[in-house]
Symmetry: C2
Subunit: 263 residues, 2 copies
DNA sequence: TCTTTATGGTCTATGGACCGAACCATATAC
DNA sequence: GTATATGGTTCGGTCCATAGACCATAAAGA
């Protein structure tokens, strides 16, 4: 499973800058890229567990690639336990319910080995997202307000965690899009995708969800009210909360690992 | 020549977010990536005009790729008039002096067709670089101060435009590195590379260079003095100046184009 | 119940990218 | 004048992706 998370989404953003020539060239296969794109789509809530991806032939045409290549990508995803393929009419590639590894597992196998990369990513997010929020507040128009209100409403209407995650994504995306700057929208989406993929199993206690929901409301309000300072402050707080959660979780898992090693 | 500038450096940052699946998969060949990396290295001042790139066999081993592949990349760069290959002992692939198209030419053939992408890029830079500068001011340590002072000194000692450009790059890189965040360093470098590649022929009048030099000094001082507000303000001004220059230049070129069409 | 249809599953032939390695050509250093 | 460091060329092999045809299966619909 874990190899599916190794997609180099942000590699271009955090590559080593010592000698730009000394790194090997890696040709990203078509199947590899397709896996990455599909996993990203699921992480962003385009497809939710239980739902089928488009049929192979359609994917092939959408992606401008042969069906054999699509099949290779889907084969890897099946092997990783990410999807399940069913034959016959009404068959398809279905996103599995439990494709996320458990928090502890994921953190131990993926987060800890790359901890400084994630630290940099969180840090950057806390610096960049307030700017994006402030800019959104300055530039939002009536359409943005409508999109944002709708996303917020969906977020509050969400019942289970999957819905909540999808709606969360939509709120943040609506805010980023209010900046009307494609670079910022892409940057924010990339950071979010990365964190969402790696922390799909974020520790969403009811208490946390309550606080996050409140902050989303306040953040959206600030953007709608065209108050950049407030938007910026709330964004800083909001992403600080996420970071603290992850740090706590990692600390707990590390403690567990220590105990296990001692045995 | 122009196709060499079409390297999708920031594609991942500013792709269309409408339907993530509807875009075709493009397999980035090895030669393509090698060209991109070599052009970037030149844009960042790792190699200056007149200097030779490493020999083919060495490049192949550095990049973990066969010599044939390296040769294909170099062939394209030769064809584009970017380098010149000379045989025999002391031969090699030499970066040409005049590999940059003239401003007007470059703008007409490359900048104008993609104008909204560049607008977004400039806009993002003006929003992000102040944050980077402020963060650098907060986090810089003694080593950073040393690196920054050295870069600044080189900048002032620069005599011709090529040296000036290389030193400029080093100053900004030193500032970004003072944030001690690899994501920010990478982000800043990517934006700078992109703009440097597209605007290699920036309108550097002596007056402009004087102002830019002054701003570099002030910016470095603010970072060294650990004054985030001042650093942020100066960065905003500095990148605003660049943007204004480019806008003026584009306006002039467009005017020229209009005149020519009228004839 | 039978036929149709929408899906995944399998096979083959073809072209292209990249590799590895050897060898050729040339210009300079010694 | 010979050795050497460089680019220039060629050949066979492997793997990847394409295109297209056909098979297998399960559900929908007549």
């Amino acid at each position: 499973m874990s190899e599916i998370f190794d997609a180099p989404l942000l590699n271009e953003l955090q590559r080593d800058n010592t000698d730009p020539l000394a790194r090997p060239i890696v040709v990203r296969n078509a199947p590899e890229q397709i896996v990455e794109r599909l996993v990203t789509a699921v992480a962003l809530g385009v497809y939710v567990p239980g739902q089928a991806l488009p049929p192979e032939r359609e994917l092939a045409s959408l992606l401008g690639v042969s069906r054999a290549t699509v099949r290779e990508a889907l084969r890897r995803m099946t092997e990783s336990g990410f999807i399940e393929q069913r034959r016959g009419r009404n068959g398809g590639s279905f996103v599995l319910e439990n494709w996320r590894p458990s928090s502890a597992d994921l953190i131990r196998r993926h987060l800890l080995p790359n901890w400084d990369r994630f630290e940099a990513l969180f840090d950057a997010r806390q610096l960049l997202e307030p700017v994006i929020a402030a800019t959104a507040a300055l530039r939002r128009n009536e359409d943005d307000v409508a999109a944002l209100s709708q996303a917020l409403e969906d977020y509050h209407a969400a019942t289970d965690r999957e819905e909540s995650r999808v709606a969360d994504e939509r709120v943040h995306r609506a805010i980023a899009e209010s900046t009307h700057n494609s670079v910022l929208v892409g940057l924010s989406a990339q950071i979010r995708t990365r964190i969402s993929l790696d922390l799909g199993a974020e520790p969403y206690t009811p208490e946390i969800r309550r606080v996050a929901a409140e902050q989303h409301g306040l953040l959206a309000d600030a953007v709608i009210a065209q108050d950049p300072e407030r938007a910026s402050t709330i964004a800083l707080e909001h992403f600080g909360l996420t970071e603290k959660l992850v740090r706590d979780l990692v600390a707990r898992v590390q403690e567990l690992a220590t105990l296990e090693t001692d045995e």
